[in-house]
Amino acid sequence: MAFLRRREKAAFEGDGLVLFADVQAALKAERVLKRAGHAISLVAPPPRLRKGCDLAVAINLVEQPGIERLFEEKDVYYVAIVPLNEECSELLDIVQVTDFGNWVMVKVGNMKLSFDKGSGVIVNTSGGGCPDIPVMHAEMIGKKLDEAPKPKEIGFTLCSLMLHRALEECLRLWQGSERQ
């Protein structure tokens, strides 16, 4: 019977969890995220991840930076964002530096940023595969390291977070070399 047929709800498979101190904060986060168009679901956190209340929001972990920025804008207080899989608990922070003579390439995680040693101008970004990465590529190239837009402020994904860390490392290297 048609009137009894329920529309099948699209399943959501989150690989990250936002943890909260109280239920109200979790419910507010759910409202804010849904209004912004994020695919999410309210879940009970596994015991090992309980840090406050027994309600958490499952998210697509790759969207972590955009979600953190949204929470800040909307005054949503949360305890932590963590990967659901306990075996991957920390973001990669390994930095690799390659000297190309007039240029330096810094690699953090899957992202690379190259700049001109003399001028501090960003000449290339590479790596990654999320949709905000070509945006960063277009916005950052040709700008000085200390004047370029910050990936953490304009990006939405973990790829942009890795690029942000690469930018920070490039700035540290460049400003260190300027002082010498």
């Binding site: 972990l61 790759v62 790829c159």
Partner: protein
């Protein structure tokens, strides 16, 4: 038909489907234009270089604007899920988008319902979502770089930003171990082309060939030079090459185009792409029979 799907960095571009071509330095489809730069643009441009040279039909693309918020990505997933059976592509190449495990799973299920299963190629975040969803064995080719190879080898990771340190903290010479782990965990497709200082071409866990010449270190710094490899592989498979042969020729052609361009880390990927016709003229017949016996379908 070769169908290429991916996002473009233009928030206002709606879901657009059609045969793609060049319009000056831009790519044009359905009245919209987007630049030939890192991402789907570089990938499509390399595929077009092959189809133009071999006089094959141009790729059909499913593209949508997305700056990271995911709306355009979800429109692409849904379009493919709804239409892949009727489109019946021979090659389906997936590229930049917001990884979504549930939608990737639905897409793979839709592909299984095709009368003839397309050859499935993934790179960038479509490769991330395929692996994270446990769908890697349903794909024919992935084209990871060394870091992404560590991601495929990490059974727990759903994004390369969260891979285990001991896997990441390796160099390209450790790639064979990572390949072995990825296949044992069923997180790899039939063929892998691992891009790096040494390119590894792997089939069903066995390393068939390595490519390391010409060595052009600056290519690693140039955004889009990995994307071009994926576009070359997709188009060469479409031209009729075996998966592994397409991967080997793509690796060689990308390096040679790099050599021809004499790049620095400041070079743009479009300058590499412009070299492909010259590379094909000089080397394609030496590397493959495809230049003589065009394997593309007649449509």
């Amino acid at each position: 038909m070769m169908l290429i799907a991916g996002t473009v960095p233009d928030k206002d571009m709606p879901l657009t489907v059609g045969e793609i071509g060049f319009d000056g330095d831009y790519l044009a489809v359905g009245g919209h234009r987007f630049p030939c730069m890192q991402g789907t643009g570089a990938m499509v441009s390399a595929a077009l270089a092959v189809t133009a040279y071999l006089k094959l039909n141009r790729p059909t693309v499913v593209v949508a604007g997305d700056v990271g918020e995911g709306k355009g990505s979800r429109a692409i997933y849904e379009y493919i899920i709804q239409n892949v059976k009727s489109l019946a592509p021979r090659v389906l190449a997936l590229h930049y988008w917001l990884p979504d495990m549930a939608l990737t799973r639905r897409l793979c299920e839709a592909v299984e319902k095709c009368d003839e299963r397309p050859i499935m190629i993934a790179d960038a975040a479509s490769m991330y979502s395929a692996k994270a969803a446990g769908m890697a064995p349903r794909f024919d080719v992935f084209t990871p770089d060394a870091t992404e190879m560590a991601f495929l080898a990490d059974p727990a990771a759903t994004h390369p930003a969260y891979i285990a340190r001991h896997l990441f903290d390796t160099d390209i010479t450790k790639t064979p171990q990572l390949v072995d782990i990825a296949y044992r965990n069923k997180n790899a497709p039939k063929v892998l082309l691992v891009k790096g200082a040494i390119d590894y071409i792997v089939r069903d866990g066995k390393i068939l060939e390595t490519v390391s010449e010409p060595n052009v270190p600056a290519l690693e710094a140039i955004g889009g030079t990995g994307d071009t490899i994926t576009g070359l592989v997709a188009a060469l498979v479409y031209a009729g090459l075996e998966l592994q042969e397409a991967a080997i020729v793509a690796a060689k052609a990308n390096r040679m185009a790099g050599k021809f361009a004499n790049p620095t880390p400041a070079t743009k990927v479009v300058e590499i792409i412009r070299q492909f016709p010259a590379v094909f003229r000089e080397y394609l017949c030496e590397w493959s029979e495809v230049c003589r016996t065009r394997g593309g379908e007649s449509e």
